[in-house]
Symmetry: C2
Subunit: 350 residues, 2 copies
DNA sequence: TTGTACGCGTTATCAC
DNA sequence: GTGATAACGCGTACAA
């Protein structure tokens, strides 16, 4: 007496249709392998009952989850949106699903996410940055889950990375300011302790200063989360120094915008009194006044490449190969030569 | 001869430990229900072999997927980031996982996503906007998946919504401009055909004009995707009209920023020559010059409420109840009375 | 406290 | 072209 099959399953539908579950399954997966007549009857039934097969069971039985996990450190920076959308499009075309996870700049949370992804046996993982507990990489390998690091070039060859070179890009940006004649250059960047991209950009900044024999001043470096208001406050502090900088390298466009508006609010002209260069090349940098000079990051290109690599890895077993993406300095209106004489500030900022 | 259990499974580990799979499973799920000695031995083994149980199998066997799906129309607007992070935090605290999906303002893509979510038997779905094929709601109900609409109040009581009222908020914003004395008010909003939030805000704008006997001018309405450069172009067109508007209501802060910078670029003073009011209250609105007047949307609060509702629905079977969230007009520096005399533009914008 | 055995819903492999 | 049935890996009632 099995008249009461649980509704919404193949068994149940098979009974209703008077065929075997195999036939239903086939109708759904490879309709051609079923007689047109049978197919029609079954499809009508599927339609009528709004049958949606249990993906967990099928993934489980076929041993293909069909999902790629993407872990981003934040979703509030739209540069990751461009990146994510590129990945999504590529995966969709390949019949894979994207699972987006936000680690919120927390190593702890990222660890949990990676574990969850392994638990659900994703077919690939796209990571942001390389700096994490090596055990996590081992875990991914242990379960034969292909992965790729993005937004950062890994120092270890064993960890495949598809990314631009943060150090090189930041070097270029800092050097540009030096070549414009600046000697007092501030840096606003992310929190290097939890962000290897920020750390690399800071390292580049320091190294350029050293190379040009410019003394490094700790007071000119501000590490902060990527929130525009925090960056604005940091800029206020920077520009209130006895000797304010004549240029600010912001290792992130959000921070650059905070710096730009704050300088203007404090009556510093950009770029006449102070130059600002950003990093990422968000669309808004082209619209603000003056347009922001910045480092263009081909986020979509990087996303495409990472997605393609994982598709090949998941479907054809091709190991992920590291690849470097080019960046480009975009000169717009926020950078120029330093003012001829050191500007003396007459009153404190409000 | 079952010596060669497949590695990375409970069976395999059970054999290694010399216990049954049940004991391993128990050790992992409810450690207390196992003798300390056994537990230690097993945990050591789990640790050593980096064992990660197959979540699909467990979810499948326990019939609890433990995931809530969130579908946002875009991830490039940081207002959704705040929303998403609130949801994520709440769910995490409740032991549920968040699956973020980006529908990219495509009904087609959203349909596929909803189907995928049902396939994976998520325990709840958070939707953005109410306007979609009713069949999708039926499908969710059919599989007893609790859902809630956000960012939009549903006109149908059968569809639970936890949201602010777009129409009311937009009415307030438009009315504010009218009360400041503006009669020539432009609207820049999203594409109403694919965005019910934009449609409601447009409806509010029209109704306010009608109520105040201000004639509706199609030329003053610009529907566009939420990209700052597109909004900038639209503003250029608007401000190049024979009789440019004295105020612009932007149903989105991104578009408001595009409008602000463009007006300034065209030498219109904000708010002296033209007032601008946005919608969302992004952090950047407090930093730009002048600070942008806007409608504050309590995105985090809405996210918390939606998450809580779904947690209760998934865990305690409590049906989701609609709830209205309050918005608030934030007056800052971008709005004021219209100029005394109509400004005559002397040359065409570059 | 621990082990046995069944069920979860699908896919894949054979026979027929 | 179709049906029967053995996996897939885990959770869990029930037995020991």
């Amino acid at each position: 007496m099995k008249k009461t099959e649980k509704p919404g399953t193949l068994h149940w539908l098979a009974r209703k249709a008077g065929v075997s579950i195999a036939t239903i399954s086939r109708t759904l997966r490879r309709p051609d392998s079923v007689a047109p007549q049978t197919r029609q009857r079954i499809l009508a039934l599927v339609e009528r009952h709004r049958f949606v097969p249990d993906g967990r069971a099928s993934t489980f039985s076929s041993n293909r989850s069909g999902v790629i996990g993407l872990i981003v450190p934040t979703i509030s920076n739209s540069i990751y949106a461009e990146f994510t959308e590129a990945i999504q499009n590529r995966l969709q075309a390949a019949g894979l699903n994207l699972l987006i996870a936000n680690a919120n700049y927390s190593a702890e949370l990222e660890r949990e996410i990676i574990r969850k992804l392994i638990e659900s046996r994703v077919e690939g993982v796209i990571l942001t940055g390389y700096d994490r507990d090596p055990g996590l990489y081992q875990l991914l390998r242990r379960y034969k889950i292909p992965f790729v690091v993005t937004w950062s070039i890994s120092p270890k060859p064993s960890i495949p990375a598809i990314s631009f070179d943060n150090y090189a890009a930041a070097t270029e940006a800092t050097e540009l300011l030096v070549k414009l004649g600046h000697r007092r250059i501030a840096l606003i960047c992310g929190v290097t302790a939890i962000n290897d991209r920020a750390a690399q950009r800071l390292a580049a900044y320091r190294d350029v200063l050293r190379r040009y024999k410019i003394s490094f001043d700790r007071a000119l470096v501000a590490e902060h989360p990527f929130e525009i208001e925090i960056s604005a406050d940091a800029t206020t502090r920077l520009m209130s120094l006895q000797k304010p900088p004549t240029a600010i390298f912001c290792a992130n466009d959000i921070q650059a915008l905070g710096a730009l508006f704050t300088c203007q609010r404090l009556q510093f002209r950009v770029p006449d009194d102070v130059s600002i260069i950003g990093f990422d090349d968000l669309p808004i940098t082209r619209v603000v006044i003056p347009p922001l000079s910045t480092v263009h990051i081909p986020a979509a290109q990087m996303g495409n490449a990472a997605a393609d690599a994982l598709i090949d890895a998941a479907r054809k077993g091709i190991p992920v190969k590291s690849r470097k993406i080019d960046t480009e300095i975009i000169m717009r209106g926020s950078t120029g030569a330093p003012p001829a004489r050191v500007r003396i500030r007459s009153s404190s900022p409000s």
